[in-house]
Subunit: 370 residues, 2 copies
DNA sequence: CTGAAAGCGCTTACAG
DNA sequence: CTGAAAGCGCTTACAG
């Protein structure tokens, strides 16, 4: 390792011993480059950072030395001295990075961050409030500039100090609780209402609600939209048709199959699936019992192959890419100094008609399960 | 801001002025806590890091002070002093975080990293070799402990110095070039061969190949598997039936539609789609022209709703979660000191029969495009 | 058991 | 145009 050396040393040490520097296990520092180039570390710093006002000769000497030593600056060190905040990192906390909805959010944030030269650290929280806190603390301790979060927990006051201390923070898909912060949400309630009204318009009165974990804000909002639609149509809510806490394709499929086995005069004639994985489970139940042409289905959130099923799956589509993009914009505004009141953006959902939601209620015989 | 203070100051300064510390915009440091607790920063450091050998009294004083100031350690600073490598970060470079295949890889790496207390920074490279280098450099400059990469570029020798300097590095899905490193790959060639042999066994002889960007290693391997199967069946490759560089659902759909319009004696009776988005495009083309029951289709990589299409889509499934998991294991072995020769793991693909791949070749009339 | 000093690699103020 | 000094917040050797 090159040690501290004074000017005198430098004049006698014009180059590295063959193979002496840039060796495996070591990494050249500003000081190594300065020593090799015969200048001060400050001059190297200037050249490396592209600051103006270094003579051509020294610039070239430094550049040659840096190249020879394969020098790369240590951003960790520079950010430390620069004053706390790290070298351009964003934290992104999602429910599940493998869910296509969040994949699109991630992609949008990643695209926007790239344009700004920021790296993104994305993590799945898996609906675990404890993990949410741990990950948030870990990301903050790593010095992220900002945090985009789909929260898993129910109390975000623990972030208040951080935000006051300058952390930029935006919530996507779900709002924070006990904390005032920027949000980007979909029209969950009105979108769900539109979905159910669409089924009502087709003549349905026994419409089942298949919901995600009841604790989740979006699941609650969509349930309210369901209730709104039924209420304004003068239809009472039947508890038996309201299934919640469906947290996977499999549980959703099972729940839907249970509904399909109800006596014909009690079974639903239409299903509203309030989330993408739930929609997959519901569709699978219908297909498995060959009821996909007899029982209507509308899903919340779009599916990749929804148009190719028979019938095509009618959905209220969200725009997760737009949600991620807008979240990044709000975050950047904070990074750029906006310190005003919290901003709240809403991304509209859109009904896409493909067939499954337009099936009218009709007679059907219950088929035995396989 | 609390300034450096000597022992004398401390005795007169037993607590913070009301609202004096922990204020918005500032963040308590070791020194602040030390000052408030009336101890040296080293003692605070010991308590914060859970080192043994601090008296109960001081421990409690420090803990109280830390709580009062809402102290959180700056991992950036500690890692700097600790010697370079950062506070537990993994870099994950993927083709596209929004593609479900890579979403599953991401989820696996994320799960494994969480168990180890590591954060993951995932980024889409979007098949851009320049971005690959930039992102790799940026992540390394940020001090990641290791890198898991689905490479976009064609020369990875630029990473050799980093690896020699101690960077743990694993390539997933595609191998590196001009670099010896750990890899986790699927059985692309034999899997593709199995897919095409399955079609041959059903009687097909005019089997089209719909391929991803030809530059990509997996696309090349799958093309070779296709060629293997045809060769061993004594079927010559018809260039007209080999379509490559399909980089999206839309281009794949268009390409497939082109094939479907060939004269009946030249058109393919079966399609092999060598990637998930390509399979979606091909299926869409078949469905659009109502040929899904007349022309066979086998896809490489599974699709979420493949079982619900009519016919179900026969695929050679990969196991992206396993690929990510194994990649993480190899990386951890490096982090734990393994310095032996590079390791190469293969994750088997699996043929899943669902209907579309079992359609025999038959007569058909070409339908006009809509 | 506790602490003063030096240093991680870099940048911020200052001098020349 | 160039550089010596001090410091970012923390930890590593050392002393007591």
């Amino acid at each position: 390792m090159v040690q501290a050396m004074t000017r005198e040393h430098l004049t006698t040490l014009s180059g590295p011993a063959p193979g002496g520097w840039g060796r495996a296990g070591s990494r050249a520092t500003l000081r190594d480059v300065a020593a090799l180039a015969g200048v001060s570390i400050k001059t190297v710093s200037r050249v490396v950072n592209g600051e103006i006002g270094v003579s051509e000769e020294l610039t070239e000497r430094v550049e040659r030395a840096a190249r020879q030593l394969d020098y790369r600056p240590n951003l960790t060190a520079s950010s430390l001295r620069r004053g706390g905040r790290g070298p351009g990192m964003l934290g992104l906390m999602l429910e599940d990075v493998a869910n296509p909805f969040f994949g699109a959010v991630h992609r949008a944030v990643d695209d926007a961050a790239s344009e700004r030269g920021l790296a993104v650290m994305a993590t799945s929280l898996n609906e675990d409030p404890v993990k949410e806190r741990e990950v948030a603390r870990a990301l903050i301790a790593r010095g992220v500039d900002g945090l985009v979060m789909v929260p898993a927990g129910f109390d975000h006051s623990y972030l208040r100090n951080e935000i006051q201390a300058g952390l930029a923070m935006v919530f996507v898909d779900r709002p924070p609780r006990f904390l005032d912060a920027d949000t980007v949400l979909a029209t969950n309630r009105s979108g769900a209402r539109e979905a159910v009204e669409h089924l009502v318009a087709a003549g349905h009165r026994r419409i089942a609600f298949l919901g995600d974990l009841a604790d989740i804000a979006t699941a609650g909002d969509r349930m309210e939209g369901y209730a709104d639609a039924l209420r304004s149509a003068g239809i009472g809510i039947e508890e038996r048709l309201v299934l919640r806490d469906l947290d996977s394709r499999a549980t959703a499929q099972k729940a839907a199959e249970g509904l399909l086995q109800l006596p014909a005069d009690q079974a639903p004639t239409a299903l509203f699936a309030s989330q993408n994985l739930v929609t997959i489970g519901a569709a699978r139940a219908l297909h498995r019992h060959d009821l996909q042409h007899l029982i209507a289905l509308v899903g919340f959130d779009d599916l990749d192959l929804a148009d190719m099923l028979d019938p095509g799956v009618t959905v209220v589509a969200q725009d997760p890419y737009a949600m991620g993009r807008v979240a990044a914009e709000l975050l950047f505004a904070r990074l750029d100094g906006y310190a005003g009141p919290s901003q709240h953006r809403t991304i509209a959902t859109r009904l896409i008609i493909r067939g499954s939601g337009e099936i009218p209620p009709g007679e059907r015989r219950v088929r035995p399960l396989d």
